[in-house]
Amino acid sequence: MAEDLPIARSCLIRASAGTGKTEALARRFVDLLRCGVDPRRIVAVTFTRRAASEILDRVLVKLVEQAQADAAGPGANPGGFFRNALASLQSFLADLPRLNLRTIDSLFQRIVRVCPMELGLSEDFELMDEFEAGELRRSLLAHMLREDGKAGVRLAEAIDLLAEGEEGKSVWAVLDRLIARFGDVYAEEPRRERWGGEALCRSLLPGWRETDGERLWEEIARKLAILDSRRAEEWEKLRPLLLAYQGNGTGDRVIQNILESYDPESGCCGEFYFQRKKIVPDAETGRLFGRLARFWLQNGLEAACRRTRGLASILAEFHARYRVALRRQGRIAFSDAPRLLRELGATGGGMDQDAWLRIAFRLDSQWDHWLFDEFQDTSRAQWQALQLLVEETIQSTEGARTFFCVGDAKQSIYGWRGGDRKLFEEIASRYAGGVAIERLAVSYRSRPAVIDLVNRVFGDKAALEGLYGKAGIAWTKEWEPHASALEGSTGYSCYLEAGAGPGEPLRSEGGVEESGQEDEEGLASPVGPALARVMREIIRPAERGLSCAVLVQTNGWARRLASRLRKERVGSVFLEGEIFPGADNQLGRLVAAALQSLVHPGDSLARGWLDSSPLGDRFRREWEETGWRILHEKGFAGVVTEILGRLPGTPDAFAKERQGLLREMACRFDQSGSRDIERFLRFWREQPVRLPETTGTIQVMTVHKAKGLGFDVVVVAELDRPIRLRSGLLEVETPEGAAGLLLAPGKAIAGKIPGLAKARAKAWEEELFERLCVLYVALTRARRELYVLAEAPRLAPRAGSAGLGAPTHRDLLRRALAGGEPRPLWEKSGIDLWFERGTRSAPEAAVRVPLEEESERPGSLRFPPRSVLSIPTAPSRSGEERAPTGSWVPARAAAREWGSHVHEWLARIERADESTQESLRNGAASAPEGVARDAIRAALACLESEVLEEVFAPPAGTVIWREKAFEARVSDCWVSGIFDRVHLFPGPDGKPDSAILYDFKTDRESAELGEEGLIARYREQIRLYRAALAQMTSLPIDQIQAILVWIGPQRRIEVSDSSARMT
């Protein structure tokens, strides 16, 4: 390969949504191939498996097209490539097995696969799917909760620190939630001192410590003449509450007020309100109040640190168990791979040069060309694991190594999962000049009307900066107006707001309800009914043959809207592009009921359900008798077949479809080998089956699930909720350089500690930016039609919440889209149209792929009878019963071994002459003590025995067969066996005219058995052998004598015809 490639060596592409990231990547890949690069030196990573296969396809398509173009015209080579397209294609296909065109997860998995031992994993470790990971978590949690002793004490201490005595009822629920939220953060940052450590605490609030609250209180009280008597009394009453304040919980209003008036610079408080009266402290009192504020800050901060430490030790407890469990059970989750790799380096701080060399050698490849897709979603951990290699590539001065990445900071919605959009910028700025930067802003997905709306919203600099502050400014820097490549084709977009109908109460009166606020809110939202109506009357996906998605931000909303649409029967509605065959239909429930009532007979709900089903209680009683056996013999697949098979009537199309899926699920579960019903039932209920994009249906899903997908019609909802800081865990950096994590104390406290205030502002900016990304991703999923549907602001805006710093997407949409008065979409519908572009059109007739016609039937092929079907009978040659228990009796095993040794020695004896005996004696002498020597001795004894003389010393001229396998067809069945010894006696013409068939028997229980017993045991075998011998030799059967030679007692037993009766 030449040194300098005719393409940009390092290249970074900012590609907006729908502008062909995949295409760009595939083009790059092809260029590399045509430059003569060895395919296995290219690493191309993306995030989803679909995308990986999409890239592969595009590479192939391009190569094929170029090859055909090459063939058509004379070899024009505009790119100046070294290799023609056809050769590139061939080399690509030949290297398929070594191609590294994969998801980033599978790339890491591949790397881990070559160094499992170093990571303490077994080589054949498996990947956990979501269900298995959940099961593991569940079982680890259960273990944690059941541990006593030191571990129990540690856990209790941690919970004490965290909850400070305000635990919920269920420890399980608390732990489960914490681990779900913060488990990954801990896995990334397991240094305990960073979690609310002392140093962090001190550096955030340096200086003196206010320790004696009581004294301070007394001092203030002395100065508080400014208060009237009633207030003074109130003030005194508040004393315990105020002194105990630690920054969380509600606290008293006055605390907030005093804190608000506190100036960290001067350490003094200014005026504040107490009991609706403005208190204006003098300088001295202001200082005293300042100290009180300081006291609170300090206590609040310390409490936050304590809670953080408590959280960290809970996470540490879990994490330690998790790490052990990973290794013990030999399974890892995808996300574990980069973390594991970090442990590899000699220094433990990531993979070093040495580790990489070893890995590269085992990977058997050198990776010179890096292609990253969706780079903004790459996490720090993933990047750190690869950094060494990739940066080496970027910095490399050789022309033979290249770097390419494509991404879009505007679509970084996986921050909560570790996606780090800043990596993109870091590279861009660190290697500025060395990296060619390109932008793609022409959408191949969305039509102009859709793009119009997107441009209006995200190009509104004033609105963005006004509402989103710094995040808005950052966004506008990223922003470049989009264009549509589908100029001229019809499309539609609009912005709607749905208000409550007249007279409907917006929310229930009274206090907080037990069932949780969110449910109520969702039920009361007018968005649901509006969506249903728009769907039914305008979008009509089934009728118009369009794929349609409703995009929201949270799972809760997705669930609620889906169930709303289902209830209103607007068509087939799917949640998150998934179905749950075990839980979403009667057949699945029937199986669950049968199994649940089997394993928990006291579950009268499941039992009653089963009894009320068409199978009824008769089946249930029978099932109680037979169910377990069916389960253990045939697995869950057998159970499902059995239960569904019992249903009367013929299944309709839906039932057939579900039956198929259910069988498949059971079968999949059976692969695990487990027979645990409880585990199965969890699997049954929770395991989704992903659906491909289907036209005519409505997919309700979160924006996160929709990433990377496109739909003909998209409705975006859930736009009205004020944005909140979700994480609660602040990344704090102090000027002294101490960095760490802290569970944020209340805003009143955090706002007055500069380090925390900064961290909070930063987190807030991140949050806002990511929310904008979510909106951007949502709006850019639409191909033809985009409906943005928000809830109209309620008449009385909730005090405080809509204030500064908590914008909603609706605020942005209104500012950017509204122009003039809205008009009602329908009379009295409460739905207002604020913005509209384009027109709706009937879609072009969908290109229906004709169903594949059944190719011609194989018909009746003519063929000779196949040998596979002739199954030989192998009559029992030994006394061992065929029952499986046999193998467990130690004596049997020894007997078997002895028997085979004896046979083997006897088979070697042609005639009992001196030299044979001699060699046997020598054999016995040299053999070690034990079965082997006993066997030789037994064989020798046979030779020396008078009774058996004729067996080993037949008359001269006798043809002797020793240990001959034979096959013969005797009375319509195949006999397959071994003649131990046959003597064929020559007749007058020299041809054999009679024979003796000897069969050696090594049965040892001589006393109990007796000769009759032995004969009975082997009669059938001998009959078949004799018949076979007669047939093979064409001797009359009465010329064949059959003799059992009983080795132990050295007896010859003739098995005569009369005794050889048919059974």
Binding site: L60, A94, M117, G152, K169, V599, F654
Partner: protein, 940 residues
């Protein structure tokens, strides 16, 4: 001899030496059979042409080497068809079985389990701990880790043996590839051998290499034929090469003379030749979008055949197998895999796992599962009897949720019915501690005695038994004895990759793996799952033997595999060109969405053809989308008759269910449907609340505390009472989870203490606790129990109900809400002060009314919740502010309306109640009972 059939020919012979080192290795004779007819038939004919003609056809002097046991079976079948009257059979062996002819009798060879255990011992020994094999080994050196590593080491040893290498000889050959690692491996191998030797065992590969070295094989002057064996184990070939007078060796190749350039002297396909060969592209090649379609299409193709035996399914990708079996099953086609079914489907691995878990953790889960396993239950003493098992399981659930115990013994102490079984399990555990292997032996003997027969089970039993024997062989010599759970680990490991013979059903279609297909003679072959990665099979054992090193060490290379598979593919197609048909099916995605790719062999063609073939492959993506049929309920539940059964007596809390939804009330209060959740880890919300109630009512009964207004004192007293309650509830000691929950409870008790002190200071005194009340309404007894009644100095009386929800509830919205139109059941609705309302609960009003009737002297009545939420600062009285007696009256008339409705059997239709959206009801009724249930009304 115990065995029959030709598999037994691998007998052990004392060898005499043929030393042929001085002989120039001569070329074996290659015979090209052609590939237009089935291989087995051709080979059989060829053999019969060469048999000795005596009394009967005699092939007993022939040693025939075939690739696998199954191909041996096929060959014998072909031989039988050739001479039905009978013949003396040749010995048919697989390549590596040739070695078994060369063993000395006295040697004891280590089986797979013995080898594993030897490595494991070494890894866990002090020596092993001193110097680790790999850089940065794990923190935890436990058995599981050692077993995993041992498996890999054994596998690596086996791989190396292809090249006749051991770790130490490979070390020399590896050269600069990770030299320290190989040095350590070589040293460790020495120690491993020493451990084996301590038990009188030797590594079998060592024996083979020795045999090779000494060339001590006895062929007794047999004629040897290597038949249809394109890829024999290299070590077997080496043995033949060194030990065989080659004039006697014939290599039968299933290919025509014309491609003779494609094979080496021993019939192995030559990579260079096959790499440049254009392979056929079948017209019946289909690439589907997804695996499931391949399975369905395969089943269709089988079904279209008139005779089942005309077709064989070649499963190139084993992951397809389960789906394929399902598709066949759906069409009612029985399938038979001569290679057997994987043992993990047998249920035995799960039994082993349960036993291990019982040994390691003594927990309830595995104990319960053993009770449910037919054979294991019998072993524990429970005969196959559905109703007895049902009772036991019910008891076990009860005991588990009462004791919250983690071990089965404490659960069993609670329920005497479980005792005998727990006793048996306990005995097993203690015996297993004393004598692990012997105990396991006895256990298995019993378990297998209770199973039926069958070849599969017998094979499984044999396999386990010999694994156990191998472990026993170590007996005294072992430095680190094996505990029972570890022994079970080794047994499970033995089963992991085992296949068990299965019964051939009537009219079954055969399923074979890719490498078994050369010998198959069905005229119609369906190649299902012709995927890249499966054909040619890609072997990864990268961590020790990456491809480059493999090549360097002379092990089988990927190029060789590719050549073999190219040849196989062409041979399979050619064999059927004139007389049958081959369908080739592949797909682009697995069932789970993982991208797949058709085999690269499909692109082995001239450059001109290539673009066309690639296009064909790419078209697959556009295959029709699967349409989801509209959801429909396959059946409805028939529930009814909907009428009240039993006495006219109801609790006040039951009324709440009716107010939520009459049908819910029917199921819960008439039918008494109640779910059982899995084994609980901690107290559930109800029990948590009950415990809190108990403590508080204990407290309320204490005269001495009634006027106490010091929260610390109250708290102290509460804690005493609380620990007394806990001791009563958990006499065996507090389960750890409950100890954690107890803190939450204590937190609430402190909240209570503070609030209680406040109330006393305000002048309130408790006058009654847990007071039972009952009113007669509409001829029904409506009963309840008032948590507490307080009175203050001014004579006001306050009825209190403790609420331990996480957040403090407000009594008014909990009881009442504004109604719109007609939501909720009719009896719940009423008009008040000009507005429509709906009752959600009647608790406090009915308490008040009943109490007032009982104590007419007190007229000034209030009602409130005593809230004890998570945040202790929020604990306190939540009074119903606009309380009025009117509401009492209205509540009573609502109760009367309800009982009347109940009497009339008004339980239908169901209301839109939140209960239906909560688990477990949600999953059973899908939140829409009205559609899923078809009620049997009482009148009909």
């Amino acid at each position: 001899m115990g065995c029959t059939g030709l598999e037994a020919c691998g007998l052990v012979f004392l060898g005499w030496r043929i030393s042929n080192e001085y002989l120039d290795p001569m070329r074996p004779e290659r015979i090209f059979l052609g590939w237009d007819r089935p291989l087995a038939a051709q080979a059989a004919e060829w053999l019969f042409e060469r048999c000795e003609r005596g009394l009967c056809p005699d092939l007993s002097r022939w040693l025939v080497i075939v690739p696998t046991r199954e191909s041996g079976r096929i060959l014998r079948g072909a031989l039988r068809s050739g001479r039905p009257e009978g013949f003396l059979a040749p010995r048919v062996v697989t390549p590596m079985e040739v070695y078994e002819r060369s063993r000395g009798v006295s040697e004891k060879w280590a089986g797979p389990t013995a080898r594993l255990w030897a490595w494991t011992q070494l890894l866990l020994s002090e020596q092993g701990a001193d110097c680790s094999l790999f850089a940065g080994e794990p923190a935890e050196r436990n058995f599981a880790w050692a077993l995993g590593l041992s498996r890999s080491l054994c596998e690596a040893q086996d791989l190396l043996s292809e090249g006749g290498l051991t770790f130490s000889t490979a070390r020399e050959a590896a050269g600069h590839f990770e030299p320290e690692l190989w040095l350590r491996l070589a040293q460790w191998e020495e120690r491993y051998r020493a451990i084996l030797a301590g038990a009188g065992l030797r590594d079998p590969m060592e024996g083979r290499l020795e045999a090779l070295d000494k060339a001590s094989t006895d062929f007794e002057g047999d004629s040897v034929a290597l038949v249809g064996c394109p890829d024999p184990h290299p070590l077997a070939l080496r043995l033949l090469r060194t030990a065989l007078p080659d004039r006697d060796c014939s290599v039968l190749i299933h290919a025509p003379e014309a491609v003779s350039g494609g094979f080496d002297a021993w019939g192995e396909p030559d990579p260079a030749f096959w790499q440049s060969r254009c392979l056929p592209f079948l017209p019946a090649t289909r690439i589907y979008a997804e695996e499931g379609e391949v399975a369905r299409r395969t089943a269709d193709l089988v079904a279209a055949n008139q005779f089942r035996e005309a077709v064989t399914i070649g499963v190139c990708d084993s992951r397809l197998l389960p789906y394929l079996r399902l598709s066949l099953e759906e069409r009612g086609i029985p399938a038979f895999d001569p290679g057997g079914a994987p043992a993990h489907g047998s249920g035995w691995p799960s039994l082993l796992a349960d036993l291990r878990e019982l040994l390691r953790e003594k927990s309830i889960g595995p104990f319960r599962r053993l009770l449910c396993h037919p054979a294991a239950a019998a072993w524990l003493g429970l005969p196959e009897d559905g109703s007895r098992r049902r009772v036991l399981l019910e008891r076990l659930d009860r005991a588990a949720s009462w004791t919250l115990a983690k071990d089965f013994e404490s659960a069993a102490r609670r329920e005497p019915a479980l005792a005998p079984f727990a006793e048996k399990a306990k005995r097993f555990l203690s015996e297993a501690r004393e004598q692990p292997l012997a105990t396991i032996r006895v256990l298995f003997e019993e378990l297998f005695r209770r199973q039926g027969g069958g070849d599969g089970l017998r094979a499984l039993s044999d396999e386990l038994a010999s694994a156990l024997e191998e472990m026993e062989a170590f007996g005294a010599s072992s430095t680190r004895p094996l505990d029972a759970a570890e022994a079970l680990d080794l047994l499970a490991n033995r089963l992991a990759r085992q296949s068990l013979p299965e019964e051939r059903p009537e009219e079954a279609v055969e399923i074979r793996g890719w490498l078994e297909l050369l010998w198959d003679d069905a005229p119609h072959l369906v190649l299902a799952g012709f995927q890249e990665g499966s054909v040619p099979e890609s072997v990864a054992h990268d961590f020790l033997l990456p491809a480059t090193l493999r090549e360097r060490l002379g092990l089988r290379t990927n190029a060789q595999r590719e050549a073999r598979d190219s040849y196989l593919f062409e041979a399979l197609v050619e064999q059927r060109r004139g007389r049958g048909r081959v369908d080739l099916l592949a797909c682009r995605f697995s069932r789970e969405g993982e991208p797949l790719f058709p085999s690269r062999l499909l692109f082995r063609c001239s450059p001109l053809e290539l673009p066309g073939r690639v296009r064909r492959m790419l078209e697959a993506r556009d295959s029709p989308l699967r349409r989801q049929p509209a959801a429909k309920d396959s059946f409805r539940l028939q529930i009814g008759p909907l009428r009240w059964e039993g006495e006219k007596r109801l609790s006040i809390t039951a009324l709440r269910d009716y107010l939520a939804c009459p049908f819910f009330f029917f199921l819960r209060r008439v039918r008494r449907w109640e779910a059982v959740e899995g084994p609980p880890e901690e107290l559930d919300a109800r029990e948590f609340g009950a415990l809190l109630h108990d403590v508080l009512s204990d407290f309320g009964r204490e005269e001495a505390m009634k006027r106490c207004d010091r929260s610390e004192k109250i708290e102290e007293r509460l804690h005493t009472l609380f620990s007394r309650r806990l001791r009563q509830r958990f006499p065996e000691g507090l389960p750890p989870a409950v100890a954690l929950q107890a803190r939450a409870l204590e937190g609430r008790l402190s909240g209570f203490a503070r609030a209680q002190a406040d109330e006393v200071r305000r002048g309130w005194t408790t006058i009654s606790v847990e007071e039972g009340i009952s009113s007669s309404i509409g001829g029904w007894e409506i009963e309840g129990r008032i948590d507490r009644v307080d009175r203050d100095a001014e004579g006001r009386v306050r009825i209190l109900d403790f609420k331990s929800a996480e957040r403090a509830p407000n009594p008014r919205p909990a009881h009442l809400r504004a109604a719109t139109g007609s939501d909720g059941p009719a009896p719940a609705l009423f008009d008040w002060r000009g507005k429509r309302f709906r009752w959600r609960d009647l608790q406090l009003p009915l308490y008040a009314a009943a109490w007032r009737r009982k104590n007419p002297a007190f007229s000034n009545l209030e009602v409130a919740y005593f809230a004890l939420p998570k945040h202790r600062a929020e604990a306190g009285i939540q009074a119903w502010k606009e309380w009025s007696q009117e509401l009492e009256t209205e509540a009573e008339s609502c109760a009367a309306r309800i009982v009347q409705a109940i009497e009339e059997g008004l339980f239908w239709p169901p209301a839109d109640a939140p209960e239906w959206e909560r688990e477990p009801w949600q999953s059973w009724f899908d939140g829409r009972p009205g559609e899923i249930v078809s009620p049997l009304l009482a009148s009909s």
